[in-house]
């Protein structure tokens, strides 16, 4: 038995709040859970030894200041080592947007939130259950029907040395409303966090979503963003991951209504001995849904990328259009990519494409660039970066793209030399 998990179980004893009925269910599952090993499908390529018997002493009280993103007029919700930092967060909210801390929810919030909690993705892995049991900090975001919230809501989790934090976000975008959410985790020191967000997107509502998992080095992080779509809901999500000693994300979308549309772009850029593990499950439960999922990664040195992309088209989900594409660029022969497409189709009238490939340099593009005098090596570097930058270009929010691009470029430039 994992010592860390033992402490989780005992810590969970002292959690008692309005979510307890839900937490109890997860706790019951946790008590029976075995620590994952190589034979556990969900963790096959992602070793958990570093957490298994870890002890995270409480971090020294830190006065970490979270920096703003240039050009982004965001509504900030800042968590330092798991604790809400009101002084760094935005207090004034636009009309139609209701945000409250998990600990302060009103009776009205409780009704829907209790239902949504742990329901958007019913089957949860070990760390999802841990988060269910321990996440007392977090927010509830509720957008009123038809409210178009233009300012992005940015949720920042900042972690410092030795921190352990579990955060939860519950979002409801009501009918015809629209919202942008940015989930950002910061801090490369030795720490561990689980951060899960659940999104309930109602009929005709739309969500623009970003998740920046840019922790590297010794930081360990397991998290996920789960989306439930209804009739004609729209989701546009961009996920960016740097690897670390443990970095795992689960991104899941359920088409629970007809004519829903989901565009998911994911980028990972890994170096050194980093690991990044992305699991994605798309459930098409209703007809006429569309999913476009593009996952692109550059893996250098002896880093490991894991991608498990599952598309499940239920029997009633006729006229589904689903495309999942995972392309990888390997920068060294020690780099490892484990990619596993899983396709289950039970409806007969669907269009579905699913592929995982090792990306190859576009020879025509290379020739074109060289024919303008650009050296082959430089052209190759530009094309390689272009391979992921293409997805950055597709980010609807220009300020975020401008903020992200140099970070990717810098990281990529460092990879080139080794």
């Amino acid at each position: 038995m994992s010592e860390w998990l033992n402490t989780v179980l005992s810590r969970a004893q002292s959690v008692d709040d309005w979510l307890s009925p839900k937490r109890e269910q997860s706790l019951a599952l946790l008590r029976d859970a075995k620590w994952p090993n190589r034979k556990t499908e969900a963790w096959k390529y992602t070793p958990l030894r570093a957490v298994e018997n870890a002890q995270f002493a409480a971090p020294a009280d830190v006065e970490a200041a979270v920096t703003a993103i240039a050009g982004l007029e965001s509504i900030d919700l800042v968590f330092i080592n798991g604790r809400f930092a009101a002084e760094q967060s935005t207090a004034n909210l636009p009309q139609g947007l209701h945000i409250t801390q998990l600990a302060d929810v009103s009776e009205a919030d409780k009704t829907w939130a209790l239902q949504a909690f742990a329901a958007i993705k019913p089957s949860r892995h070990l760390f999802g259950l841990v988060n269910d049991a321990l996440a007392t900090e977090g927010v509830i975001i509720d957008v009123a029907a038809s409210a178009k919230i233009t300012a992005p809501v940015r949720i920042v989790n900042q972690l410092s040395e030795n921190a352990e934090a579990h955060n939860r976000v519950l979002v409801r975008v009501a009918q015809q409303a629209s919202l942008t959410v940015v989930e950002q985790t910061i801090g490369d020191a030795y720490s561990f966090n689980t951060a899960f967000a659940e999104y309930d997107i109602a009929d005709d509502a739309s969500l623009e979503h970003y998740r920046f998992a840019l922790q590297t080095d010794k930081a360990m992080s397991v998290g996920g963003s789960h989306f439930q779509l209804a009739n004609r809901s729209q989701l546009n999500s961009t996920l960016v991951g740097f690897g670390s000693s443990l970095s795992r994300l689960d991104v899941d979308v359920t088409h629970g209504g007809e004519h829903a549309f989901a565009k998911l772009n994911a980028i990972y850029l890994l170096d050194g001995e980093e690991l990044f593990d992305l699991h994605s499950t798309i459930e098409h439960a209703q007809p006429h849904g569309t999913t476009e999922e593009n996952v692109r990664g550059i893996v250098g040195d002896s880093a490991t990328a894991v991608f498990n992309g599952r598309i499940h088209i239920h029997r009633d989900a006729q006229k589904t259009l689903a495309e999942l594409n995972n392309r990888n660029l390997l920068m060294s022969n020690k780099a490892v990519i484990n990619t596993k497409p899983e396709l289950e189709i039970y409806a007969d009238d669907v269009r579905c494409a699913h592929g995982a490939t090792i990306a190859e340099i576009d020879k025509k593009a290379l020739y074109y660039m060289q024919s303008r005098g650009v050296d082959r090596a430089q052209a190759q570097v530009m094309l390689n970066f272009g391979f992921i930058n293409e997805l950055v270009d597709q980010m609807p929010n220009a300020a975020l793209a401008e903020w992200l691009r140099p970070q990717l470029r810098q990281r990529f430039a460092k990879m080139e030399v080794n």
């Binding site: 660039m369 650009v374 530009m382 094309l383 272009g386 930058n389 270009d393």
Partner: protein
Amino acid sequence: MLSIKNLHASVEEKQILKGLNLEVKPGEVHAIMGPNGAGKSTLGYVLSGREGYSVQDGSASLQGADLLDMDIEERAKAGLFLAFQYPVEIPGVSNLEFLKAAVDAQREARGEEALSSAEFLKMAREASKQVNLPIEFLKRGVNEGFSGGEKKRNEILQMLLLQPKLCILDESDSGLDIDALQVVAKGVNSLRSPDRGFIVVTHYQRLLDYIKPDFVHVLSDGKIVKSGDASLALELEEQGYAWLNKQPEDDAEGLQV
């Protein structure tokens, strides 16, 4: 300045150029016309060093330097420029970044100092105005989502920025609306100078109304089979290429320059 002698070249074992001769002197504009599949684009590809095109015989030199012996980028640095019939889309690589890299390379090759970002931007802005391409286009990926005509204008823009010695324009006029045709022609004419040469590949006489050629050549089955002055283009426009098949072999040979 460009001297092509007896050039034989093939692609995927298929012989395309079969003894092509062409001499372009500084300041001259040569138009090349000819039926589809004759090898006009192939000539540009071979001269620019495209992979998959191999030369069996003959030579090509630019200002005395052996082109065929150089890497693709060296040829460009030596002053060769090919405006493509089908420009390539490169999503993810911004036009500006690409153009800057190309201009930097060109300036380095000429022993000139690198431009600052501001200087370069100013230049790019002027060039894009000249070809009537909104500057916002330059922030997009290279040719990404450009219409056919916009791609062609982007080729001319690159030519304006790079100031090559020898420009080959491969059907830069096809797919252009009437205004864009003028834009392209003006771009070319603005570069015309006593020390720069042009090869203009086209199917239509109309472009040559705007860009007055000194010579017009007919390329057929991998060779130049007829050469003349600007009036030859008008003749071809009327007659088409049917005469190519009727003319006896030796007669056609006799017409070569």
